[in-house]
Subunit: 488 residues, 2 copies
């Protein structure tokens, strides 16, 4: 059919076409289905939205993705027809039947995801299929390959490229310390991080308090060539765009099938060219995984590393409480700086960062076996790590001062005397988010007491920081209900 | 955060709010997530779209669903925050883990679907869960109840309310003949039908050629009170709105899990108050199900009927070719009329309709055991069925004449002599859709030859009807490739 173009003046991140409800009913089109829009020999596939009132039955309102690609003018006529469904639909169906996919098939799905040819609902079907049916190691390997092959690459010339990843969820930022120590030791460390999804602060959120984290690939290469390392947000780089999109859809349901988690982490590390990879897997009652799951992940990571010919180690560490006293973007980066400056140990932060850095130094051959921790400590104590950190922050257009406190501060005192028996990390995370994290950079929590510490009635156990009194009130209410710190 | 309102002037069938990309990144909001928008004590949950260029960072563009519900003016300030996710999300997660849901849990999911609180991706997760994990008979029963309880009801006063449903896919419309015979016999027959999804014509599409099919519930009651029956489109009545929405999302992947199929059909029949239900299950190589699947469905339908205290029978009939010569909305209704007028038997149409009507007459006690077919034939032969049909069509503001031929007609001649060995129903359906069905009402196919008939070289086997020569060309190309009729 021929329809008259109206401009929607909206760029929705994907091509969206709005049809009149009556026309949609007549031609059996539904929200979230696709139409093929043609002008001369140019064409584009768009997702259908249905409207009444903003357009006539013989009109089609198009988002800027469509008007630009087809060079349309308002009032012009275009040909519109139901689009044949993407080639990956029957492949997703196949996986939903728990059948095995080969490289070409997985690649087709990843490609359609990257090209916006699949709707979020269709991606949800794919994720469900992987969640319910699982994937063989061969399939996971091929998904990693397909994600990398449909994204950009960093293509660094350096040889000793190291990387780390933590199967998150625990507050406290070891990454800036580990990266600074390793880069000071001469390793190349192209670290890309995510922003917080369910936690109070991702590494990117914390670093953003003191420097830029959003760079282009050429800019990142410059930073690395100057400093050996970078600490940037990976979200807009397009290094593993299929994975970025899958994660968006996964979070709706808090799903994170093992196969997808493995593919996601490996593909991001391979896209930046890492050859030496350390995966930190904190486990325990309040962590993302228990010990059995952690061991299972370790096994699979190692199998995968062999297939891609990279050296990989996992650090499985039981973790029962936040790593640092500060929780929240600014409070966490502040503690990182105090560790680098040798002003404090930042509760467990220094110890954990040294363990991880030591393992990477051994993995890359910079340190001899069992000498990594010692070397890491030397680099930290000598101030070399701090200098390296300053260099990187400067290259990322930042500076170390400028940290302020949040507008509102509230002490939480213990109602009784006793010992700290349990800290519910998930409740602490929720508390910090209610205080405004990660959007309010200076909001968060300072933990005055840790596991097994003695507490007297009336003693400070937490300080809450917030930018708004209504958020503080909500947080206090939640604290009283959830009681995240058990004292007995 | 506080944002300034802009009007999107778009009603998208669900509340949509557009945020600026930078703001979205900062506050970790993503396409397809939800925000809670507040003005004074009024609030609404909206799905997030992200845009650049149509609004400023401190603005929010809202669809008319939002502006109306909150009585907003452009330029006003509203409070916006990430919405807590719907209560049904963890329940969908639970089903994805293959656990059993109870009535309250299923009801919550259906309610959230009806209230637009779930996105299509989240509904896709639910459908995947049901597809992969299945549902117990108890769960299916409770899903039926939940779908009915979250929709409208017809609430007819009549007692002998009959209904039929066919597990579709086979061209040829028995429904108008069956309804006319049964209503002439004094049964109440509130027939709601769907439009074609993958077939060339649904019952609603075919009837729409000669009368209206889109009515409100009070209008439908008037039609039934006048004529004992109706034959309307069920899509906009809100009788089982959760199911309508689920079907929309299922079709993306051509999924139709058994549990959902059972719940869908039963809920629609119960919503109109049917007490006597006939389910036609055509099976065979080119039908939707094979014999084993048909028997399994029959068993489950009967169990379900017992739980809802309705009388139900299944008619399992092996079906190897279209029921009528005509395929396409107008061509099919034309043949229905010729059967009712006793001008032809419409290939198998008369025979199949009589069998089905006979079974319903027996089920309701209108005919004695094994006397149904005879009674149905008598009503058809006497002209009572035709009169009843005319009455219904008139009550639905239609008339029997006014059927024209499509603009273009093309004969397909046999390339060889032999016997018709096979008719691929799915390919015939695709062929009719390529000719323009169901949007072009007069497009379609006329089958001159049927299974086991002798054909001479050069004899007509098909006539193709279309409104456009380009569609005809495409259809002929497909015919030559797929060769849907095997002559040997």
């Amino acid at each position: 059919m021929q329809l008259k173009v109206k401009f929607l003046k909206l760029s929705a991140g994907r091509p969206v076409a709005v049809l009149h409800k009556k026309l949609a009913v007549k031609s059996s089109m539904h929200v979230d289905e696709r139409v093929l829009i043609r002008k001369n020999s140019h064409k584009i596939v768009a997702v259908v939205d249905i409207a009444v009132g903003m357009l006539k039955e013989d009109e089609i309102a198009v988002s800027t993705e469509i008007s630009q690609q087809l060079s349309l003018k308002e009032g012009e006529m275009v040909y519109v027809e139901p689009a044949t469904s993407p080639q990956s639909i029957p492949l997703i169906s196949k996986k939903l039947k728990c059948k095995t996919l080969n490289y070409q098939e997985i690649k087709k799905i990843m490609q359609d995801i990257v090209e916006n040819a699949l709707t979020e609902s269709e991606i949800a079907y794919f994720i469900s299929a992987v969640y319910r049916c699982g994937m063989s190691m061969k399939e996971i390997e091929e998904m990693v390959r397909a994600i990398v092959d449909t994204g950009k690459k960093l293509n660094l010339k350096q040889k000793l490229i190291a990387d780390k990843h933590s199967i998150g969820g625990i507050p406290g930022r070891t990454t800036p310390i580990v990266v600074s120590i390793c880069a000071a030791a001469g390793l190349t460390f192209p670290k890309t991080s995510s922003r917080a999804i369910t936690s109070p602060s991702g590494t990117a959120d914390a670093l953003e308090v003191i420097c830029k984290v959003d760079f282009t690939i050429p800019e990142i290469k410059k930073i690395i060539n100057k400093t050996n390392a970078c600490m940037v947000w990976g979200g807009s780089l397009g290094l593993a765009p299929a994975d970025d999109k899958i994660i968006q859809v996964e979070r709706l349901m808090n799903l994170d099938p093992d196969a997808q988690l493995l593919a996601s982490i490996m593909s991001k590390k391979l896209a930046v060219g890492s050859k030496y990879i350390l995966i930190e897997i904190p486990y325990g009652k309040h962590a993302k995984v228990n010990k059995k799951q952690a061991l299972n992940l370790e096994k699979k990571f190692k199998l995968l590393a062999k297939r891609f010919n990279v050296k990989l180690e996992c650090a499985l560490i039981e973790t029962k409480e936040p790593l640092s006293n500060g929780i929240g973007p600014a409070l966490e980066i502040k503690e990182v700086i105090s560790v680098l400056k040798r002003e404090s140990s930042g509760f467990m932060l220094e110890e954990r960062a040294l363990v991880l850095a030591g393992k990477i130094l051994e993995l890359t051959g910079k340190a001899k076996s069992k000498k990594g921790l010692q070397m890491a400590k030397k680099i930290l104590d000598s101030g070399e790590a701090l200098n390296k950190f300053k260099q990187i922050i400067l290259a990322q257009k930042g500076k170390l001062n400028g940290l302020r406190e949040a507008k509102i501060k509230k002490q939480i005192l213990s109602q009784k005397s006793g010992e700290v028996k349990e800290i519910n990390i998930k409740s602490i995370n929720t508390l910090a988010r209610l205080l405004g994290c990660p959007a309010d950079k200076f909001a968060g929590i300072y933990l005055h007491k840790h596991l097994k510490e003695k507490v007297k009635k009336g003693e400070k156990i937490l300080t809450l920081y917030s930018e708004s009194s209504s958020e503080l009130d909500g947080a206090i209410k939640f604290y009283n209900q959830s009681n995240p710190i058990t004292i007995k």
